[in-house]
C-alpha cells in the first residue's frame, strides 16, 4: 500500500507544480510605453565599439545608436549630423567641420571637438597595422581650430572622403567602449541577452527629430522557418528582409509587406584564375545560358532587379541600366562560345554556396538546372558561412560561388575597388589591365563627371569581360504589422527605427 500512496502523492505534487507554475503567468508590465518588437536573423557582435564592428547585421542596428559628423538619409544624401556645417577645399585635401550646438551623448554630456578628434584619431591609428577605417590612412593631420571647429587635412586629394565621415563619434572619456555603448543617435543601448534579444530605448535629448517609439526590442530568430510563425502569432511586429515565399505566407494577415531593394550584387562569382573560367568565352557562354528573369520568377515571383555589372540602381548616377540586357538568354550562342573555347561537350564544376543564405541556394539550384541546357554540369556544395569565408573569400580556393556583395559606403569605389588586379579582396582573381587603368583614372579624376565616366567604364569592362555571371539586386521585403508605419528604405545596409510610428 505504501508504494501506491507514495506514487499518488508524487503524481499529485508534480501536477500541482505544473499547474501552479503555468498559472502564475499573466500580469505583464503595463504597456503604456510605446514599443515595437523587431525580429532579426542573428545576434550582434561581441563588442559594442562602433569602430570595431564588422558584421553587416550589427552595423545596421548600430546605425540607430551612433552617428558621425555627417549621416546618410534615405535618398543617399549625406547630411550634417554631429557637425552642423562643413567646407571642402577646392583641392579636396582640407575638410573643415563646424560642430552643432548642444549635441548630447547618451550619458548626458555634450559633444566637444576633443571627442571628435579622439574618435577620428582612434580610427586612423596605425600602431596595430591597418587603421580601423582604411580610408583614414590618407589623413595627414587632425587639428582643433577652436571650440566648434575641426580641420582634417589629407595627404592626397580624395573626393569620397566625406562619406567616411559617417564614422561614429564617441566620447573620449569612455574607456570601456567595448562593453559600454555611448553614442549620439536617436536610440540608446539598454541591454542584451545573448541569442535572445537586444533592447534599445529612445534618447530623449536627441539633437534632431526624436524617435517616435520609446522602446525597441530586437528579438533574435535563429530559425528562418519560424519567422512567418512568429509574425502570425504576434510575437514580433516587424521583420526586415523576409523572403518572397515568406511574404506570400503572410497574405490575408494583419501584416503589410513593403518592397525595396536589398542593395547588393547577387552573382555567380567565378574564380577567373582557374580553368575553364580563365577563358573569357566560357564565362560569356555561362552568361548567355542563364535566364535571369526565370530566376526572379522562381525566387520572388518576378520581384527584384536584373543587373549586368557590379553596381545596383540605388547608386543613381553610377548605375548603368543598359548593361542588364547585355547578355540575354541565347543557348545557341552559348554553345558556340563553348565550342570555340574547346568545350564543345561541356564541362563540370563545383558551385560553392554558403548554407545560411536561402536566397543564394535557391538561385544556385535554378542556375544548375539552366546550365544543363549547354551540357555544363554544376554540382552544388553547401558550406557553412565560416568555411566560405576562409576557403572561398580569403583562400580563393573554389571554382564558382553564388553570393551577394554589398557596399559599405555610398561610393562607387566601395563596389569596384575589389576588382583591381592587386586588390586584397579580389576574391574572383579578376585581372584586366584595362580595368586597372580605368579604375586608377577614376580615382585621380578631378571633376565629378570625369570620375563617373571612368567608373562606368569599369562597370562596362566587368560586364563585357563577363567577370561574373551577374544576376540581380534582390527584392528586399519588409513585413510590418498594420499597427505600425513609417518604415523607410535606405540605399545602404542600415535600418532606421526612429521613423517608425504607431498607427492610431
Amino acid at each position: 500500500m505504501k508504494t501506491k500512496r507514495r506514487l499518488i502523492l508524487l503524481v499529485s505534487v508534480l501536477m500541482t507544480l505544473t499547474i501552479a507554475l503555468s498559472a502564475c503567468s499573466g500580469d505583464k508590465e503595463d504597456s503604456n510605453a510605446s514599443e515595437i518588437t523587431i525580429g532579426i536573423p542573428q545576434d550582434i557582435e561581441d563588442t559594442l565599439d562602433p569602430h570595431k564592428i564588422l558584421a553587416a547585421g550589427t552595423k545596421e542596428i548600430f546605425f540607430n545608436i551612433y552617428e558621425g559628423l555627417v549621416k546618410p538619409d534615405s535618398d543617399g544624401n549625406l547630411n550634417p549630423a554631429v557637425a552642423s556645417d562643413y567646407k571642402i577645399s577646392a583641392d579636396k585635401k582640407v575638410y573643415t567641420f563646424t560642430l552643432r550646438d548642444g549635441v548630447k551623448f547618451h550619458d548626458g554630456s555634450t559633444v566637444t571637438v576633443e571627442d571628435v578628434k579622439f574618435s577620428i584619431d582612434k580610427c586612423a591609428d596605425t600602431s596595430n597595422g591597418e587603421p580601423l577605417v582604411a580610408a583614414f590612412s590618407n589623413i595627414e593631420n587632425v587639428a582643433v581650430v577652436d571650440e566648434k571647429t575641426i580641420e582634417i587635412t589629407l595627404a592626397n586629394p580624395d573626393s569620397d572622403f566625406l562619406s567616411y565621415m559617417t564614422t561614429a563619434i564617441i566620447p573620449a572619456s569612455n574607456d570601456k567602449a567595448d562593453s559600454v555603448a555611448i553614442g549620439t543617435g536617436p536610440y540608446k543601448y539598454v541591454s542584451r541577452s545573448p541569442q535572445e534579444n537586444i533592447i534599445l530605448a529612445r534618447f530623449d535629448e536627441y539633437w534632431g527629430e526624436k524617435a517616435n517609439i520609446e522602446k525597441v526590442t530586437l528579438q533574435i530568430i535563429a530559425d528562418s522557418d519560424m519567422i512567418v510563425m512568429n509574425l502570425r502569432s504576434g510575437a514580433i511586429d516587424m521583420f526586415c528582409r523576409v523572403s518572397a515565399a515568406q511574404a506570400a505566407e503572410l497574405s490575408g494577415t494583419s501584416y503589410k509587406v513593403l518592397e525595396g531593394t536589398m542593395n547588393l550584387v547577387q552573382a555567380m562569382y567565378l574564380n577567373n584564375a582557374v580553368a575553364p573560367f580563365d577563358d573569357v568565352r566560357v564565362r560569356q557562354a555561362l552568361c548567355y545560358a542563364v535566364d535571369r528573369q526565370e530566376i526572379l520568377d522562381f525566387m520572388a515571383d518576378g520581384q527584384g532587379t536584373i543587373i549586368g555589372s557590379s553596381m545596383y540602381p540605388a547608386f543613381g548616377k553610377y548605375y548603368m541600366e543598359e548593361l542588364s540586357t547585355y547578355y540575354s538568354k541565347d543557348i545557341d550562342k552559348a554553345k558556340q562560345l563553348l565550342a570555340d573555347a574547346g568545350y564543345a561537350d561541356g564541362f563540370s564544376f563545383t558551385l560553392t554556396v554558403p548554407s545560411n543564405y536561402q536566397q543564394h541556394i535557391d538561385t544556385a539550384q535554378v542556375i544548375v538546372e539552366q546550365l544543363k541546357d549547354i551540357n555544363v554540369n554544376a554540382k552544388i556544395e553547401l558550406v557553412e558561412w565560416d568555411t566560405w569565408l576562409s576557403e572561398v573569400y580569403s583562400g580563393r580556393n573554389y571554382e564558382a560561388t553564388v553570393v551577394g556583395v554589398d557596399a559599405s559606403q555610398l561610393t562607387a569605389s566601395a563596389l569596384l575597388k575589389r576588382f583591381n588586379s592587386e586588390a586584397g579582396n579580389n576574391f574572383i582573381n579578376f585581372n584586366s589591365k584595362a580595368y586597372d587603368t580605368a579604375y586608377a583614372n577614376a580615382l585621380a579624376g578631378i571633376t565629378d563627371e570625369e570620375q563617373t565616366s571612368y567608373y562606368k567604364e569599369c562597370e562596362r569592362i566587368l560586364c563585357e569581360e563577363a567577370a561574373n555571371v551577374y544576376i540581380q539586386d534582390l527584392a528586399c521585403l519588409v513585413a510590418l504589422s498594420d499597427r505600425y508605419a513609417g518604415y523607410e528604405f535606405y540605399p545602404l545596409y542600415v535600418q532606421d527605427f526612429s521613423k517608425l510610428y504607431i498607427v492610431e
Partner: protein, 314 residues
C-alpha cells in the same frame, strides 16, 4: 565500495578522452575563429594580430593543456562572439534548458504512469489499441516537425500560447515557465510514448509471473495485486529508461529550442559551432558529456544494485 571507486576512475578517464576528442575536432575542422570574427573586411595583418591575441598560434598540445588546466579551475575562457566569460554565459542560459527539460521530465513521468497503467489494466481493449497506434505514430514523427505542428495547432489556431514570444526568467518567471510548456510537450511526447509502452508490457509481463498468480489465488483484488506487487517490479526498467530519456532530452533540446526560439544551451551551442566560438562550444560539450557520463554511471550502479546477476561481470 571498490566497484564504485573503479567506476569513478573510469568516469574521469572517459571525460579526458571526450575533452581531447572535442579539442582535436575543433582544431582540425576548416574555418578560422580569427577570420570568422573579422569577416569579409579582414586584412592579413589584422588577422595575424588577432590570431596571436587569441593564442591560436601556439602548438596544439600547449593549447590543449592550457585549456584543460583552466577548465578545471573553473575558468572556461571568454566567448569570442559575446565578449563575456563562458561560465557567466552558461550560468545565464543553463536554467532555461534545465527548466525546459525539467518540465518535459515531469510531463513524461506523469503520463507514462497514467497511460501505462491504464493500458495494462485494459489490455486488448479498444482504448489500449488506440493508444498503441497513437504511440507508434508519435514515435515516427521527427522532433522539429512535431514542434511545428504544436506551434501551428496550439499557437496559431487555438492561441494557447504565442510561438516565438519567449520571456526571460529574470523578467517574468511565470510567463517564462508558461512559455516552456508547449516545447516541453514536444520534447516529452516521443519519450512518453516509448515509456508508457514499456511500462504496459512490463506490467503485463509481471502479471504472468508466478508470484502474481499466487497473489491472485490468495484472493487479492485485481487492484491490490496490480499496485502492491506488479507495479513495483514493473517500474524498475521504466525508471532506468527515464534516466536515459532525460539525457536524450537534453541533447534533443537543441532542435526544439531552435523551433520555439528559446535562447537556451542548445541554441548557444549551435550558433557557437557555426561561429567557431570554441571556448563556448568546448565548455558546453564537456559539460554535456560530464552530465551524460555521470547519468550513465548512475544507471549502471542502479542496475547492479537491482539485479545481482549483473554484479560479477561489470
Amino acid at each position: 565500495m571498490k566497484a564504485i571507486l573503479k567506476k569513478l576512475i573510469t568516469m574521469i578517464i572517459t571525460l579526458f578522452i571526450v575533452s581531447f576528442l572535442v579539442f582535436l575536432a575543433f582544431s582540425v575542422i576548416p574555418g578560422d575563429p580569427a577570420l570568422s570574427k573579422l569577416g569579409t573586411q579582414a586584412t592579413p595583418e589584422a588577422l595575424e594580430a588577432l590570431r596571436e591575441e587569441m593564442g591560436l598560434n601556439e602548438p596544439f598540445f600547449t593549447r590543449y593543456f592550457t585549456w584543460i588546466g583552466s577548465f578545471f579551475t573553473g575558468d572556461m575562457g571568454t566567448s569570442y562572439s559575446y565578449g563575456i566569460p563562458v561560465s557567466e554565459l552558461i550560468m545565464d542560459k543553463l536554467p532555461i534548458t534545465l527548466v525546459l527539460t525539467g518540465i518535459a521530465l515531469v510531463i513524461m513521468m506523469v503520463f507514462t504512469v497514467l497511460l501505462g497503467i491504464y493500458a495494462a489494466r485494459h489490455e486488448g481493449g479498444i482504448i489500449d489499441r488506440i493508444l498503441m497506434v497513437v504511440n507508434q505514430i508519435i514515435m515516427a514523427v521527427p522532433a522539429f516537425f512535431a514542434g511545428i505542428i504544436i506551434c501551428f495547432v496550439f499557437g496559431l489556431i487555438l492561441k494557447w500560447f504565442t510561438p516565438g514570444a519567449f520571456v526571460s526568467y529574470e523578467k517574468d518567471f511565470g510567463g517564462f515557465v508558461a512559455y516552456l510548456i508547449a516545447p516541453a510537450v514536444a520534447i516529452a511526447l516521443p519519450k512518453c510514448a516509448m515509456a508508457s509502452k514499456l511500462l504496459r508490457s512490463s506490467l503485463i509481463e509481471q502479471g504472468n509471473m508466478d508470484y502474481i498468480r499466487t497473489a491472485y489465488s490468495r484472493g487479492n483484488t485485481t487492484k491490490g495485486v496490480l499496485y502492491r506487487h506488479a507495479l513495483r517490479n514493473a517500474m524498475i526498467p521504466v525508471v532506468t529508461f527515464w534516466a536515459m530519456a532525460y539525457t536524450d532530452m537534453i541533447a534533443g533540446s537543441v532542435v526544439i529550442e531552435q523551433v520555439f526560439g528559446i535562447p537556451g544551451i542548445g541554441r548557444i551551442l549551435l550558433t557557437g559551432i557555426s561561429n567557431r566560438d570554441y571556448p563556448v562550444v568546448m565548455a558546453i560539450i564537456c559539460l554535456l558529456a560530464l552530465f551524460i557520463i555521470v547519468a550513465n554511471t548512475l544507471v549502471d550502479l542502479i542496475y547492479k544494485w537491482i539485479d545481482p546477476r549483473m554484479r560479477d561481470n561489470g
